[in-house]
Amino acid sequence: MQGHAEPVHHEEMLINMGPQHPSTHGVLRLLLRLRGEVIESARFVIGYLHRCHEQLTEQNGWIRAMPLPDRLDYLSPITSEWAMALAAERLAQVEVPERAEWLRVLSSELYRIASHLVFVGTFAMDVGATTMFLYTFRERELLLDIFEKLSGQRMTCHYIRVGGVGWDLPSGLDAEIRRVLKTVESRLPEYDDVFTNNRVARARIEGVGTMSAERCRAFGASGPVARASGVDFDLRRDAPYGVYDKLDFDVVTGERGDCLDRLTCRTMEIRESIKLCRQALDGLPEGDIRTKLPARFKTPEGVAYGAVEGGRGECGYFAIGDGGEAPYRLKIRSGCFSNLHLIEKALAGWKLADVVAILGSIDIVLGDVDR
């Protein structure tokens, strides 16, 4: 709290934004030093949602901890699951069947669309366009319905397992996914009309909260936040996992790193993900979906790092195995946690109304930040 222990001058106001505030996306607490409506400095306080995920995994073991990553980044659970499964598989040298890899790509790209839709909606709502929130959630609902048919749950899927995926594609879902993708694709121009291209919205988001590529690199930011600032880095292309090296897609980058870039990066990524989903459906091979693991799945001694491109940046699981059913130590590297650290510098000098816009454009999930 250094910098906030200083006495408050009488023109200044120290204001506590959160943990119970409608637009801090959960339980983030921001300490803002205001002069009028202008932010002098900002500090954030996290930890209100800490649930000991690393420790739980170290105690429960790989198999029993597999449902837990869903609860970290609950808006994009599949990617967290995949990162954890990847760490275990790399540690224990488990082969994953070809079909399972394709299903993993399909499901994680579908959930990436859902996750970015939530971003577009909540960001628009932070800026004041409540209707956009309902529109994007309406489309997200279609995607969640697909996940209900695929895995049985809408958000806490528990779909990706160590050694494969939990369920195969049920009959008829292929056509439905294609139909939903078409619907989502047709609604994207509507979002542009209602929000992105609107003059009022442009005034709120264009040129606001710029972050340079250097600062993003320095803070270890990743995902759409870093790409919007021009950091050309995407794990799907730069450290391919699954079958991404066989798929054709573009990595979207921005130029200025303002809120508009962070918004358009995500809307463009939705388009890229739609492309990837279609390729995954077309190329889906026949075969097994899951490697049979021993009843007591053990990981040997060694270290492994499984990282995937999550909805909000690099989602990595670093595991140290000791020959037991559980990792000796598991460290979760969360994209949101690193990205969140950008805001302290990004907020200074902007107005109170921009706080929610900048914070919204970074798109944090407090479950992932606090873990």
Binding site: T131, V200, A203, A353
Partner: protein, 364 residues
Amino acid sequence: MEERGWLESLVNGLVQPLYDAVPWIVHLVPLLWILVLVAVSVLILIWAERKVSADIQSRVGPLHHGPIGVFQSVWDALKLLTKEDTIPRQADRLVFCIAPFIAFVPAVLVYVVIPFGKGWIAADLNVGLWYLLSVGSLGVVGVIVAGWASNNKWSLLGGMRAAAQLITYEIPMFLSVVVVIMMAGTLSMDDIVRNQAGGRWSLAPPETPFAGWYCFTIPGLIASVLYLVAALAEVNRQPFDLPEAESELVSGFNTEYSGMRFAIFFLAEFSNTALVAGIAATIFFGGWSSPIVSEGEGIWQIFGDGIVWYFVKITALIYGMMWVKWTLPRVRIDQMLQVAWKGLIPLALINVAIAVAHVAWVGP
């Protein structure tokens, strides 16, 4: 005949003696009508707001109380009335308690000079428009003191924003109303409506019943657009809902209010919404005059001038305001001031010049 006898005896037995004893009581009748009208229209507006937003957002809105949920807001009002009355411990109690009423009373008082129909005006003041704008702008005091008295930083920010916003947007509002005053040559609301009966140069085809409406003159058209934009800000609606910006200020100046006092703020807000729509309808869109036929014969009589047209017009205007509210994002505080000082006020001043030319060229 029997009913008339019954009514006559009631008038002779009760009303006449009462009138003899306190003759000023007759002035309470229109006030009572205004209070009932405001209360009922606010209940309808709250329901309509929810239904319109639901329509726009692919939802269905309230459904269960009454047909298509029309009694939802009645139940909401009852819920608010029965809620615990909380006052923050550090609040300025007296100011905190009277602030909602300071906001609410002007919002009702201004209805006195609104002509709902032919002769349906509580007091046809010869300075009606002047009275309306000056009394109407008192409501901001209630909002500011509510923000101050709550002793909450968010409320204070909301109150300060409200002060800046409401005072700023009164200027373009006044300047666009001035155009109408110049063209009508009167401040009386009733005369303004009557002056729109037609017979002057108009953008609309001549000989139509709506040809004389001020929105069909060039300065009137510009003024009506400017007025409606400023009106959105005056009633704190998107894109200018900064004083109670939910995602930024929690709930703005009424963060600490609950129960009955919150309901009164709500009442004042929606009453103001109906009011600015009513003023726009009266001074730009011909008030109670009919766009189809002014003095109909036979079946056409029901489409003639009358109170119905006033309500049709404000319904359309309020629907437009809700539509805009649920579409546009919110502007930032500095942008909000820019829109007024750099956008609306210069345009309104230019428009006043156009109106001078218009009046000089075409005649009032």
